[in-house]
Structure formats: structure tokens, C-alpha cells
Subunit: 197 residues, 2 copies
Amino acid sequence: MARRNDHSPDELRRLALDAARRLVAEEGLRGLTVRRVAERIGYAPGTLYNLFANLDELVLRLNAETLDRMAEALAAAAACPPMERAAALVEAYFDRIEAEPFAWGVLFEHRLPAGTALPDWYGARLDRLIGIAVAALEPLMTAWPVLERRRAIVAMWAGLHGISTLAVGSKLALVGPGDPRALGRLLVSRVIAAGPP
Amino acid sequence: MARRNDHSPDELRRLALDAARRLVAEEGLRGLTVRRVAERIGYAPGTLYNLFANLDELVLRLNAETLDRMAEALAAAAACPPMERAAALVEAYFDRIEAEPFAWGVLFEHRLPAGTALPDWYGARLDRLIGIAVAALEPLMTAWPVLERRRAIVAMWAGLHGISTLAVGSKLALVGPGDPRALGRLLVSRVIAAGPP
DNA sequence: GCAGAGTTTTGAACGGCGTTCAATATGTGC
DNA sequence: GCACATATTGAACGCCGTTCAAAACTCTGC
């Protein structure tokens, strides 16, 4: 069989990624298998290997789209008056995660085999995200020297990831009071206000 | 076959966890399988199911020990003059992670099947860890109201986890300058110094 | 219409996985 | 020695990711 002509390769990739996203939303990374994706889109497992090098690449593509969605949410939130901007970004960040907690979890749960590096197109997504945060927050950090601002923003960024990761894995509730959003607000507002050491 | 009497059940669990830790150190979570652990300790795969309910429990036990080691490292670092304590804790934290980066990664990479809660004995480990940080740092946070201190410490704690997770998965280098330790120091020192919003 | 070339799709096959469980080998107490 | 209890085994099951020769399809040139 070949060229069923139902779908172009790009359409097939779209179908596969949508099916994968749905599987992840339902059961997390453990529920995402090549065979199940294939079944959901009505093709044989082998077909997926024409579209992606292997399951790892499919997961990376899925994660890239998750990052893109976050980037759009943050960019939209950044378009507000400077005074409210930091708070708006934090809210948008957690809104996005709560909309798709499993997909966000996969971002950290998935690791490439030892020795395999993340592809460039994936790194570009991370860059874009941090770039949005830097552009939005830098002007607010009047207490910081210009050259230190990016570093501080990366620290906040990583800090938010930590909070959200622990929250998604329900390892945060065990440890203390306060919802993740409050912790995120705390972290970001304190670092912005504090100024350098 | 039965009662080979080479090892008591507790000794067997010890052997299995040691083998598991070595496998993780070599290849990460992907390299940790029931069959390989069994092979390394010279028993059949089925035997491991007398010692652990399943592979998930084995991983949780391994993670619990990883948390215990971190707790000991932090407790040791906290026994220093208050002025140096925050910095000492951050250094000890990253020292520990660098000693076993793969094992630390497994802490976040591993998720239980959807719907399964973390067991109590695991939560106790998390509690002990955060308790050590709270006891060590609370006295330093003179700018914070007493009731807010724990919340702020949890936020820092989660923030450090974010930094270390991104660093271990090499998703941090892609995004900005500065080594993880510097970001950790920045986060902790700024929150401690800042005082509440 | 048709033949052949060129692709896409298939599905069986492979080795490995977690997990179960009847059968078995080894102890212990009599 | 013998029966009881238990720790251990390893084959079996159903799943997994991945490969690849064969098959099914489309397209081209006639």
C-alpha cells in the first residue's frame, strides 16, 4: 500500500502530534506509545517512522509545541503596562500549565538517551521563551545593573520551572503551604525588587 | 529453589538498590530495568517481586535514599555560623547533585502512573529535607515576618530544584550565561535579603 | 489503457520490557 | 528421613520500539 493520498506527510505529522497530545493529556508520558498513536490516526506503526526518526523525536516535537504555546501566552501577557507586567507573566505562566499539566510534565519527564544532545530547533524554542521574559522584565529591573539582568531573569525562570515541576508532580503540597502561584509571585517579585547582591 | 540463605531479604534489598543506583549512574533511568538489576545481583527477575511491589517501588526506594543523602549533606552544611549558612547550603546542594547527577535527575524524571499517590514514607523524606532548610535559614530571615518565612523558604527550595533540573537536563546552558551555582546563590541571597512584598 | 518506475504503507518479525505464577529447590522442625 | 513451609525460579503473557522486505498504491510516458 502506498500513497493513500488521504493526507500529505505534513498533515500526517499534524494528526500524529494531535493524537500524541491527547494521549499525554489522558495518561501522561507513560500512555504515549508509537503503537497507540498509530492506532488513533488509523495507520500502521511503521508509518510513523516515515514521519519521525523515532519516538524520542515525536516527543521532542510535541514538547516544542508545548513551549510554543507557552511563548504565545507569555507574549500576550507581556503586552500590558510595566507596573502589572511581572504579575501578569506569572499568572499567564501558571494558567498555561494548568491548562495542560500533563503536557507540561512531559517537558521535564522526558530525557533523551545518554549522550544524545537536544537538537537545535529545540534549543531555539527555549531561547525564544527566555527572550520574551527578558524583553518584558528587563525594563522593570531598575535596581539591577543592565548586565546582571538577564542572569537574574534566567534564575527566576528556572525558579518558576522548579515550582511548577514540583506542583505538577504533586511533590509540593507535601512540603508546605501555599499554592504554586503564590510561590511564583513571591520569587519573581522579590528578585525584581531586591537588586544585585 | 528457595532459601538459598546467601542473603536475608534486607540484604537482598540492599544489593538490589545498590545495583540499581549503579545502573542509573551509568545510563540514567532508561538503563534501569528489573531484568538488569536481577542479573547484576545474580538472581532471577521474579525474585525482585518478593522484595518490592514492582519497579516503581524500587525507583521510589532509590529516590528516597537519594533524598536521604541530600538531607545529610545539607544538615552538615547547616552547622556553620549563621552568616555563611545560606551560601554553605547552596554549595552543599549543588555539590551533592554533581556527585550523582543521574540519580538526581531520576528524582524528577520518574512519575508514578496517573492516579497513584506518593507513599507516606516518601513524603516524610521531603518533609525532612525542607525541615532542615527551614531550621537553618529561618533565623537569618530577619526581614520576614515569622509566618511568612516557611513559605519563602519553600519558594527558594523549589527554585533551586528548577535550576538543578534544568542544569541536569542541559536545558539551562542553552538559555543563558552563568553556572547553576551562581544562579542558585543569586536566588537564595535575594529572597533572604528582600523581605516580604 | 497500459507498463513500468517510484513511493508510501504495511505487518510480521525481533529482541527487550514488566509482571505473574505453577513448579521446584532448599531450608527447618520433628 | 520426612513432611511442611518458603524462597526462588523461569517460562509465559502481553506489551513495547524499531526494522524491513513485500505489497499496494500513484504517477509518468506512451
